[in-house]
Amino acid sequence: MDLFANLAHGFGVALSPINLLMCLIGALVGTLVGVLPGIGTIATVAMLLPITFGLQPVGALIMLAGIYYGAQYGGSTTSILVNIPGEATSVVTALDGFQMAKQGRAGPALAIAAIGSFFAGCVATVLIAILGAPLTKLALAFGPAEYFSLMVLGLIFAVVLAKGSVLKAIAMIVLGLLMSMVGSDIETGVSRMAFNIPELADGLGFATVAMGVFGFAEIIRNLDAGAEMDRDLVQKKITGLMPTRKDLKDSTPAILRGTVLGSILGILPGGGAVIASFAAYTLEKKLAKDPSRFGRGAIEGVAAPESANNAAAQTSFIPLLTLGIPPNAVMALMVGAMTIHGIVPGPQVMQKQPDLVWGMIASMWIGNLMLIIINLPLVGIWVRLLRVPYRLMFPSIVIFCAIGIYSVNNAPVDVVLAGAFGLVGYWLIKHDFEPAPLLLGMVLGPLMEENLRRALLISRGDWSVFLTRPLSAVLLAIAAGLLVLAVLPTLRRKRDEVFVESEG
């Protein structure tokens, strides 16, 4: 079968020594980032973008992908052991994971998280391999109207699933769209909202903004918390990694459900690992015979979200590789990495760059295997890292971020802009605006505008084209339905409940 030939080819690429090394570096850095609170995946990938200049494209993307899913593993470790989610994706894992650790069952919790992640990773890898080709064919049937509607759907998804006010989330998306329009117009080449500042002529760099609102703003906010950052660690030694038979029996269905849910949410534009873990936890709680066990050390509460976030982290590559649409901010940075190497993401990548696509898919499976090894036996080392005090960590992160941003274009102005966006991000946090939809809007902005203009040009200015083309109409209908559901008060209250609980 074609699939196996492709996968075999992919493993051939991924198993070359240099790519194995890249995969290992990605997994290690990802775990490190996942473990350390105060620096997230987005900032790290943005920081490492310039490094990939000197690498082969395959190796570069394998490494960046490794960081993304590696962070999902690392995040679970600290959530369980010290109740500090190193990543937003592991916030819900901390609820039951830390309770388990308190009951002296940290070992099984870690093991189940790792097993669940590994299983989900394997499934997601196969899923990408299977879905890649047919989705690429579907993508060829997509016209500009369909692309536009799909992106609307993605943005609405991001809004519905974001926490807090729907209105504020939409406002952030629109702000992102507006910011994406700074710089030259794609069609006419006219400079827009750039005020004759040469550095703005190319538009606001995505990596710059991402580093500002996710990197610098996070540091500034953490400094506010001051002494609270001192962490009291679980000093107990972790004994007995092996879960009992009952643990395995309880968590198997949870892992399966989490994997399915995570895979679906990862594929949808606007989805991603964070949403997947929240949704999986909620689902488990709904389905459980005795929901009160959750929050008191239920193993399903660890198994499901950890499987879901890992599955979603990987399946979110599907829209990028097949449609050329980055479904979330990390994937948008991947687009940046691909562009650096002259690869335009989209349906044609699968045919033109089989090495790249299949090599990356195969490397995900290898990376997952490496992560199990990195995480379980080396847990002690990662926990020790947490003892590095924040007062030393944050200036280091500042320097790394500054160097990273500077070396993208060798432009000092980029560093200043990133700093300014750090303050903007700080302001956004203080006013309870989520920065993630803003970035998504910024990423999708140029694509959306281009497709909107093209669709209207083809239809000679007829806006009904979005409703008369069946695929586009279906996509928009789903989007409208979702939005209605989100605004409906009953559902909203429930949604808030989920998030309030998970924060508590």
Binding site: K168, A171, D224, P395, V398, K430, H431, D432
Partner: protein
Amino acid sequence: MAETTGQLSGGVAREPAARSVTGASIILVLAFAPQLIELLIALAGLVGPLSGRGPLQVIGAHASALSTALPSLAQQYAAGSKASLSSDVLLALIYTYPLIAVAVFTFMVRPRGPQDYFGGVVLMAIALFALWASSDLQGMRGFSFGAGTAPRMFGLLLLGLGAAIAVIGVVNSGAQLATYHWRGPLFVSLAILTFAVSIRPLGLLITGLASFLIAAIGSPETRWREAVIVGVCLTAGCALLFPYVLGLAMPLWPRFLLQ
């Protein structure tokens, strides 16, 4: 530039929340922020090599634009002429006047959810500013989009959303303004600025250490001895890692040493 205004408005919340007077006066400053920023740039142009209008020209142009904006709009409307208004007049009409109105409104009401209210107002300001900034771009040409169509579309959308958020902030009781701290933001920003300014002339070694130490002031918990040791080690590590291992072109030593 829209972002710069957003950033200035960070100051909005630094004051205690309940006082509408403080909030109103800060919105008033925000309303004149573009003019003030242009004036500052013009003043800087006196010292450095910046071209553009001189400070006196800036003051004169904006003062006359602000005072004659409404009459000239009325005049244009009455005459039915297609002559376009100057950019300064448009700034006054599109950005400054509406924000002054918002400031007056803020002075009169006491928002029950200040966090939402001021958040919405700033979004409105950004939207108005973007509308002004894209006002010189071409709009629809027949059924095809001009360069300015999409920015204006999303600008109007953001204006509406910002207004809705602000209205909710007035009507519904919501969260108070969060407290801002100055130490962290100030020194982290200073460190970033130091890095940007000195990386080219001074090189990575000096710049890295200096930025590290400036950032370290941002936390009251910093212990100087360990900060210096870690800073030196980190800078040395970066000096090896980035230019040599990763092959990124980056000046290491100060320029004057190399000459």
